[in-house]
Structures are given as structure tokens and as C-alpha cells.
């Protein structure tokens, strides 16, 4: 019996591992075989020449350029909001102390935020618009700014925890040298600890960029639309890569549009793949050094 269970376990484990690898290879193979040939200039810019598109001389209607720009703006604005806040909070949690009950409440709140389904952030943004309409801003509507705020909330816990982990992982010798030489606490943090943990902090920032670029549920509720072109202001609606993919999967009318969907999906996969692997690499390098 024991022998049978062990043989079965070995066999099943191999089966699971092979299933996982095969599924992933088929998945990527399918996407690459359909998407690779579509990746060229006209996928991005349609019929408009790249020069005109880049300088805003002509709007792009049949390319994914507006979606790329929309995603870039979304990532940019949400990082402006989230990165300073997240890194500050991470530094505080790693280096300063508060009383135990306050600390555990803060920890619980941040863990809760980290586990929150992204659609809840979107619903929060939607509720905020309803609230503003009722109170002091009757013309409030979903827009790029609102999406950026909600995405910022979404990535905030990643930033806090990676910063915190990177700082806590520093050896005690490093921590005490600066203090021993007469640095104040903040001087030591700013000039010694942060530079030494910069790789870990960077990995958190890159991870957040990836999360902000891939999330669909939040922007779905807070202002993304299918064909708006480039946003003229931060209060405009916008296009984004993940939403374009979602939209084309359901609403494509021509084979060209379907191909554009495959191209956009492959572009997004390459983008997030690069970002996440970069974050991973940075993270592994710090944990390798501290050992």
C-alpha cells in the first residue's frame, strides 16, 4: 500500500508538472503564432504615419497607439501618487516604532488593502463620482485622474511591503555603523540604508508599474472607453491596452480588428513579462547578497 501511494504520488506529481509546462507553452505558442506577425508599425499607428502620430498631428483610429499612451499616462500618474506615499510608509514601518495596538491596526489595514479584489477599488472610484455629483461637483465624471487614484491605491501595498522588506533585510552591522559615526537616525536612513536597499525598493516600483499597466477591472469602472483617442486633459476619458484587449475579444467585427487584439495582447504580455522579470531579478539579487 505504502509503495502504491508513493508510486502514485511520483506519477501524479510529474503529470501535474508536465501539465503546467505544456499548458503554458501552448498558451504562449498560440498567442505568439497569432500575434507575432501583426506586430509592426501599422498595429500601433494604423494608417497614420508614425511621425504625425507621435507629434499629435493626426489622430490614430485604427491602431493601438492611443491605448499605449493611455496606459503610459495611467502608470505615470498613479506612480506619482503612490510611489512617494508607499516608500515613506515603508520606511516608517521598517525603521520607526509606534505603540503595539496602533502598529497591528496599521499592519492589518495594509494587508487588507493588499488582498482587496481590484474591482472593489474600481467600485470605490465609481462611488466617489456618485458622491461628488451629489455634493459639490455636479459635473463630476469618471476620468484619467480617477483611474490613476484608484490604481495608486491598488499598488500602494506592494510599494510599502517591498520597501519595508528591503530595509529590514539589511544586516545590523550596516545599520549601526552610521549611527556609531554620529549620524542622526534620519541621516543614517537617507545616506546609508536607502542607498543600500535601493535595489529592493526599485523592484517594488517596477512591480507596481507592471500591476498598474495590466489591471483591467479598476479602469473598467473608472473612465476607460473604447474609442476616445488621446486624452487632452487629466479629466478626460482615455484608452488603455488591457481594456482594448478585453473590448476586442468581445466586439471585434473584422479579421483586422481581431489581429489587432492578438497584437495588443502580445505587446502587453511582453511589457508585463519584462517588468515582472526585472523586478524578480532585482529582488533575487538583494536576497542573494544578504545571505
Amino acid at each position: 500500500m505504502t509503495k502504491f501511494i508513493e508510486t502514485a504520488a511520483t506519477f501524479l506529481s510529474y503529470a501535474c508538472a508536465i501539465l503546467t509546462v505544456t499548458t503554458f507553452v501552448i498558451f504562449v505558442g498560440f498567442l505568439v503564432s497569432h500575434g507575432l506577425t501583426t506586430i509592426n508599425l501599422s498595429l500601433f499607428f494604423g494608417d497614420v504615419s508614425p511621425y504625425d502620430a507621435l507629434f499629435g498631428n493626426a489622430p490614430v483610429w485604427d491602431g493601438i497607439w492611443p491605448a499605449v499612451v493611455g496606459t503610459a499616462l495611467l502608470v505615470f500618474f498613479s506612480c506619482i501618487l503612490a510611489v512617494p506615499l508607499g516608500i515613506s510608509a515603508g520606511i516608517f514601518l521598517a525603521e520607526y516604532t509606534v505603540s503595539r495596538p496602533i502598529r497591528s491596526i496599521i499592519d492589518f489595514a495594509i494587508d487588507l488593502l493588499a488582498g482587496m479584489p481590484s474591482i472593489i477599488m474600481g467600485l470605490f472610484g465609481f462611488a466617489m463620482v456618485l458622491f461628488l455629483r451629489k455634493t459639490f461637483l455636479p459635473e463630476a465624471n469618471t476620468c484619467l485622474l480617477l483611474s490613476s487614484v484608484c490604481i495608486a491605491f491598488l499598488v500602494l501595498p506592494y510599494l510599502i511591503r517591498t520597501t519595508q522588506t528591503a530595509l529590514v533585510a539589511l544586516p545590523a552591522a550596516v545599520r549601526l555603523t552610521g549611527i556609531g559615526l554620529g549620524f542622526t537616525k534620519w541621516q543614517n536612513i537617507l545616506h546609508v540604508l536607502i542607498p543600500l536597499s535601493s535595489r529592493g525598493i526599485m523592484s517594488g516600483v517596477i512591480l507596481s508599474i507592471g500591476r498598474a499597466a495590466e489591471d483591467t477591472a479598476v479602469i473598467l469602472l473608472t473612465g476607460v472607453v473604447a474609442n476616445s483617442g488621446l486624452p487632452g486633459a487629466i479629466t478626460d476619458k482615455f484608452e488603455a491596452l488591457p481594456f482594448t484587449i478585453y473590448y476586442l475579444a468581445a466586439e471585434y467585427r473584422t479579421p483586422e480588428e481581431l489581429n489587432r487584439g492578438f497584437g495588443a495582447a502580445l505587446v502587453l504580455l511582453i511589457l508585463t513579462g519584462t517588468l515582472f522579470q526585472a523586478a524578480n531579478w532585482l529582488h533575487n539579487r538583494i536576497s542573494g547578497e544578504s545571505r
Partner: protein, 299 residues
Amino acid sequence: MATFRQNSFFQGTSETVIKTGLFFATLVAAFVVIVIFGFICYFALPIFHEEQISTVLSWSWKPVQGQFGIIPMAIGSICLGATSMCLAFPVGLGVCCCASGLAPKWFSSLILLVVRLMTSVPTVVYGFVSVFLLVPMVRGAFHHGTGFSWLAASITLSALVLPTVVLLIHTQFEQIDPGIRLTAAALGFKRVSQIVWVLIPASYQALFAAGILGFGRAVGDTIISLMLAGNAPQIPDSLLDSIRTLTAHIALVVSTEAGSSSYNSLFASGIILFGMSAAVNGTLRFIRLGARVSRDFNK
């Protein structure tokens, strides 16, 4: 000397200012979740008035006839989360066993590389590929409906949560394996016996945590169920039926602008999801606490 004293005075002040600033940032971050909860509760408040609660907590969703029940969606969420985990958990455990020494070195690094690459796939890309690859396969294999079904969504969702399960269990295996390996080897255990009879039983807490966390992820995901599950608000009879989850329901109600009369169900769904995610979080905290206690006890 005077300048020195002045400097140290300023330094003392700026140290306090910086600490206060950082503390303030931390408080803002912690308050975000409270604000979100507050907003959703505020908008869900009308449900608790009058007979609204029975309207929302009913079995049928027919907005045109004034029936706004979200129970089918709640059941849909739980069904989809459960079936995805039924697939993802055993496969994840098998992958971990393989990666922890059952398989040769090159194969285990290959699996771990694949799992790490899987973490970077956006959900919408999984959804997109499944719409054109998996859904036609399901439709062709069973000749039932459109293929947009509970089954198609479960398979894709299990691919999404697999890395979560694998990485959590694998971390735990790596932590306790060095201590177990030598003892068990000295007792004459083969590698497979070590894993089956020692390593897995010794990390039951991590297995439990991985199950809970994966379930939370699966229930919280919007795009895959929205794209693949068909979104019919019904109690499913079979795996090939179409179902609608709470997350997809929120997205659909907002995007179809069904009017403010259906907003009650929107925020009720929001509260249920918030509650589920809080419950998952609380359970994980509890497990971690239990793990710490038992470790201290063993020392």
C-alpha cells in the same frame, strides 16, 4: 560652537518633522482601506431600509421586472472559486513536490521558471487567449451551449491562481526541508517517502494558507469570469452552464448603466466581496499566528 548648537537644534526639529511626515504617510495608507469600506457602506445603506434587503437578497435578477436579487451571483462566485481551486490546488501541490526533489534538478528549475513567468501574465491576456483557444475546445468537446461556461472560466482561473499556490507551498517546503531531509535520509527514507510522509504533513498550515489565499484570489478576479463564464445570472446545473460572479456583476451593472435602481445590488455585491476578502485575510492572519505559536512551542 554657536553654529554647531544651532545645527543640532535644527537637526532635532527636522528629525521630528520627518518622523511625523513618515507617520502621516503610513496613516494615509492605512486609512485608504477604511475610506473604501466607508464609501461602499455609505452607498449600500439604502439596502437596510424598508423592504430593500429582501429585494437584494433574493434568488432572481430581472431588473426590468424590478427583481434585483444577487444570491445567484454570490453562489456563482463561490462555485467558480471552489472549482478553480479543486484544479489549481492538487496541480500546485504536485508541481511543488516535483520541484522539491522528486524531479531532476534541470526539470525542477524549468517548472519554477515557468511558474514565475506565469505570475507576469496579465489576467486580460489569459482571458483573451482562452476566448479563442479554450472556449472553442469546450464547445467542440461537449456540443453544449456556446462554450462560455463555468468550466472554461474555472480552467483559466486555475491557471491564474496556480502561481500563488505553488510559490506559497514551495517557500514553506524550502524552509523546513533542510531540517527534515537529513533526519529522514538517515532513517532510510527515499526522497519520495520523505515528501509524502514527512514534508507534506509537516507543512499542513502552509497548504491550508495556500488554499485560502488561492480561493480569495479566484473569487476576487473580475476579468476572467467576465470574459469566459457567460454571465447568465442563474444557479448553474452543470459545469457547462453559464454563470455570473459578483465581480462580473459589478462590472456589468456599471458598464450597462442600468440606472440607479440597480445600484443597491452593486454596493451589496461590493460589501459581500469586501467581507470575503476580509475573512480570507483574517484567516491567514490566524494561521500565521498559529504557526508562530506552534513553532515557539516546539522550541
